[in-house]
């Protein structure tokens, strides 16, 4: 207990030195050559930036899936020569239903639906509704699985859109089944990003229904709002060319009008479809539909066979660029909505760092003064350990690239207060043993031994509490729990090994007859 092998001593000092080295990058502004460069990762609350929590719209996903199933069901019934009428879908209940032409055909219709070749196994169940309706219900699990897939797909698209917007170091992560977290350092006004992500950007090219201009859509068409005129236009349901066939898009200035426009080009299949459609429909109006809104509906003058075109809506430089970014990145499988937003300006972050640093320094000095006054020489050793502790904590935070948040800084500070606890326990224990009449050597030995059990018990409970906090906490709370958890580990190291080493070395060198406690 009172003997430190050379190897162990070197080990302890080595860890401290390593900690110091790992800490250095935090005090430099530029990366040093040939050095592992890892700075503490500052949270958005300290460096300024935006945090967005997006949720995928499951209902719209279900609605899309029901629409597809409905089309497939019609097809399946037609193939079997079975009649149907009154197709309805209810996305909120995840159901779609129809009436068989003849009640006697109900059984056959049900079988035809269940045997649809496009049906994914167990995706839906077929049952009976009111008045002889046949009801098809999408399973909860099937929708959840679709949501998971859609989130995976969306993350990629979100990443491309944000990269296209010029944001630096964005972090995009999934959370749970249907959520995406977007962190944007340096962007303290996320309005544009929100708009960029809030658009599905499903672009389709469709013909306008011929002749109709009334308020009722003809069969096979629906009324969609026209962005530029404010009217509604009857747009055919049939999609001539899909936006998914685009290969490129960019913001350009229109040669004729001098205003901003978005140019695009199609891949091979898209170009052919576009050429076929324009050739067959010269003189008709062709609508460019984005998320169920008509951006533009020009009259086809001549067939367009080159595989590229231009949209001239009412664009600004920004909106043209953003639309181009969205078209290039592709359409989102379902709408994403922002459900939580936190934006912190850079000046507030800097204020917080300053306040934290001042508090840290003052707190450190107060604790050190206290230890020196109350515990003399051993208090000074505790102070050396305290500084080493701070260095090791910073090193650990840098090494693990843990995110330091504002509450994390508070955690750092509180750890400093708790760190000397072990020293106090040891010192008090040694003192007691001396009062009981032990010699200096035996008092130190027994004091260390007895204090260790207590130290382990008291730290283990704190450790457990904070691990729980990390597991169940989110965001800033996790950051706080993480710093304290790291702090408990480094504290055990510096007090049980380093400050003890100092005390033991001092004793070995001076062999005092009494201890300064």
């Amino acid at each position: 207990m009172m003997y430190y092998s050379r190897l162990r001593m070197m080990g302890v000092l080595g860890v401290c030195l390593l900690g110091l080295l790992l800490c250095v990058p935090n005090f430099m502004h530029a990366p040093a050559p040939r050095m592992p460069w890892r700075q503490i990762h500052l949270g958005l609350d300290l460096r300024g930036g935006s945090y967005l929590l997006l949720r995928l719209d499951r209902q719209s996903l279900a609605a899309d899936r029901l629409q597809t199933l409905m089309d497939n069901a019609r097809q399946a019934l037609l193939e079997k020569g079975l009649g149907y009428r009154d197709f309805q879908r209810d996305p909120a209940r995840r159901t779609m239903s129809f009436l068989p032409r003849d009640p006697s055909e109900a059984e056959a219709a049900r079988k035809a639906i269940a045997d649809m070749p496009q049906a994914v196994s167990n995706e839906f169940s077929v049952g009976n509704g009111d008045d002889g309706r046949i009801v098809l219900t999408l399973g909860q699990d099937a929708i959840a699985q679709r949501a998971r897939d859609a989130v995976t797909q969306s993350i990629e698209i979100v990443r491309r859109r944000i990269d296209g917007s010029g944001a630096i170091d964005p972090e995009i992560t999934r959370e749970g089944d249907d959520r995406i977290v977007v962190e944007l350092p340096g962007i303290s006004d996320p309005e544009r990003i929100k708009a960029l992500l809030g658009t599905t950007a499903k672009m389709t090219f469709r013909l306008l229904a011929p002749g109709a201009a009334g308020s009722v859509a003809p069969p096979g068409a629906q009324l969609l709002p026209d962005v530029s005129s404010g009217q509604t236009l009857p747009v055919q349901d049939h999609v001539e060319v899909d936006g998914g066939d685009l290969t490129n898009a960019g913001a350009v200035i229109d040669q004729q009008s001098g205003s901003w426009a978005v140019s695009f080009s199609f891949d091979h299949a898209g170009a052919r479809a576009f050429a076929d459609t324009t050739r067959a429909n010269v003189g008709r109006r062709f609508a460019i539909v984005l998320d169920n809104k008509v951006i533009e509906a020009p009259v086809i003058q001549t067939p367009i066979t080159a595989g590229n075109g231009q949209i001239t809506g009412n664009f600004t430089a920004q909106s043209a660029t953003d639309l181009a970014v969205m078209l290039r990145a592709g359409a989102l499988p379902a709408p994403l909505s922002v459900i939580e937003q936190r934006a912190i300006g850079p000046s507030l972050g800097a204020d917080s760092i300053r306040a934290g640093a001042i508090s840290l320094l003052v707190g450190l000095l107060l604790v050190m003064a206290f230890m020196a006054l109350f515990y003399g020489r051993f208090g000074l050793y505790a102070n050396v350990a305290l500084i080493a502790n701070l260095i090791l904590m910073m090193a650990a935070l840098s090494l693990f690239q843990a995110t330091l948040t504002l509450p994390g800084m508070a955690g750092l500070l509180l750890t400093l207060g708790m760190a000397v606890d072990a020293n106090i326990l040891i010192n008090e224990r040694i003192r007691e043993e001396i009062k009981r009449g032990r010699t200096a050597l035996s008092a130190m030995q027994v004091g260390f031994e007895r204090a260790t059990g207590t130290i382990v018990d008291s730290n283990a409970t704190a450790f457990l509490a904070h691990v729980m906090l990390f597991v169940f906490g989110t965001g800033p709370v996790q950051g706080f729990a993480l710093t304290i958890t790291i702090g408990i580990v480094t504290t055990l190291f510096t007090t049980l090994l380093l400050s003890r080493l100092l005390m033991v070395r001092w004793y070995a060198l001076t062999r005092p007859s009494e201890l300064p406690v």
Partner: protein, 314 residues
């Protein structure tokens, strides 16, 4: 210099008969906790953005903030703010809005509203910097609240299990009762001071619990040791002895933690000073409850069981 300690809290020979005041201590604590529970209902906690949902915008204007102009700008956008107030300096403004009425579009509306407020503020006083603009939807705030309580509950459960395993049942139960008393007082303190109860506050309360447990474990550790050492000493005397023996440590560690948190309460800025102030309160409560509550509870519960032999002898 400083080779010897200059101060002590209490001299080593001092024997303070803490157990004599056990009923007074327990009664005071019970009353304070009951009052705190009352405060929890009236006026209740001031829920922060995390748990209530809504919008908070902090702005720094150039020159003193012009409140009438800000109110007007918001009114023009048909925004009814729950509060527009100064915080800290003359040019720092805090605007709070509640979540819009429940509905399918609620979260989208919340998000739109925050942008509207931003524009209104910057147009009312040009040159205004937006320091922070947070908007939390209703469903998220409910989840955050649930997660926060889950973190609190599971921490308490872990502490209970740990002490039960390491010590004995009486220790674990009295520790958790003491912690619950500490917790209720902290909640009462939050209700009185009107600090916002948000996720950061949950972290503060958990830290207080962790710290308070730590304090109790040290005292209990000594009690357990003394139980083995003085086999015939009555429990009451033994508890007094254990508390006195650990008193310098208890006060010493409380002081260092207090000193570390103090600058944060003073310099931490408005977001952290509330957190730190609650911590300071918790340190005082936790330290006093280690002495005046945890040990007396142990005496009440363990008089028969922990010291069966000495009780029989009397």
């Amino acid at each position: 210099m400083l080779s010897r300690p200059l101060f002590r809290f209490v001299s080593d020979d001092k024997r303070i008969p803490f157990m004599r005041g056990r009923y007074a201590g327990l009664a005071t604590s019970a009353i304070l906790s009951l009052l705190s529970v009352g405060l929890f209902f009236v006026p209740g906690l001031k829920l922060g953005l995390d748990f209530r949902g809504g919008i908070v915008v902090e702005a720094r204007t150039q020159g003193p903030a012009n409140f009438p102009a800000l109110r007007l700008a918001l009114a023009e956008q048909h925004v009814t703010a729950a509060g527009i107030q100064r915080f800290g300096a003359d040019n720092d403004v805090l605007i709070q809005l509640d979540t819009p009425e429940a509905g399918p579009q609620q979260e989208a509306q919340t998000q739109k509203l925050v942008d509207t407020v931003r524009h209104a503020v910057t147009s009312a006083q040009p040159g205004t910097q937006i320091l922070r603009a947070d908007a939390v939807g209703a469903s998220v705030s409910r989840e955050l609240f649930r997660d926060g309580l889950l973190a609190l509950g599971s921490s308490l459960a872990m502490i209970l299990v740990y002490i039960w395993v390491r010590f004995e049942r009486e220790f674990a139960i009295s520790a958790v009762i003491t912690l619950v008393l500490d917790l209720t007082k902290t909640v009462g303190f939050l209700a009185i001071t009107r600090f916002q109860f948000d996720l950061v506050m949950v972290a503060a309360i958990l830290t207080i619990l962790g710290y308070s447990t730590n304090d109790k474990v040290v005292v209990y550790d000594r009690v357990r040791e003394n139980l083995r050492k003085y086999r015939t000493m009555p429990l009451r005397e033994l508890l007094d002895l254990s508390i006195n023996e650990t008193l310098n440590r208890t006060l010493g560690t409380s002081s260092t933690v207090f000193l570390a948190a103090l600058p944060l309460a003073i310099f931490g800025g408005h977001s952290l000073s509330g957190f730190a102030t609650v911590m300071l309160f918790g340190i005082v409560v936790g330290t006093s409850s280690s002495i005046f509550i945890a040990a007396p509870l142990l005496l009440l519960m363990g008089e028969k069981r922990l010291r069966r032999d000495s009780a029989a002898r009397k």
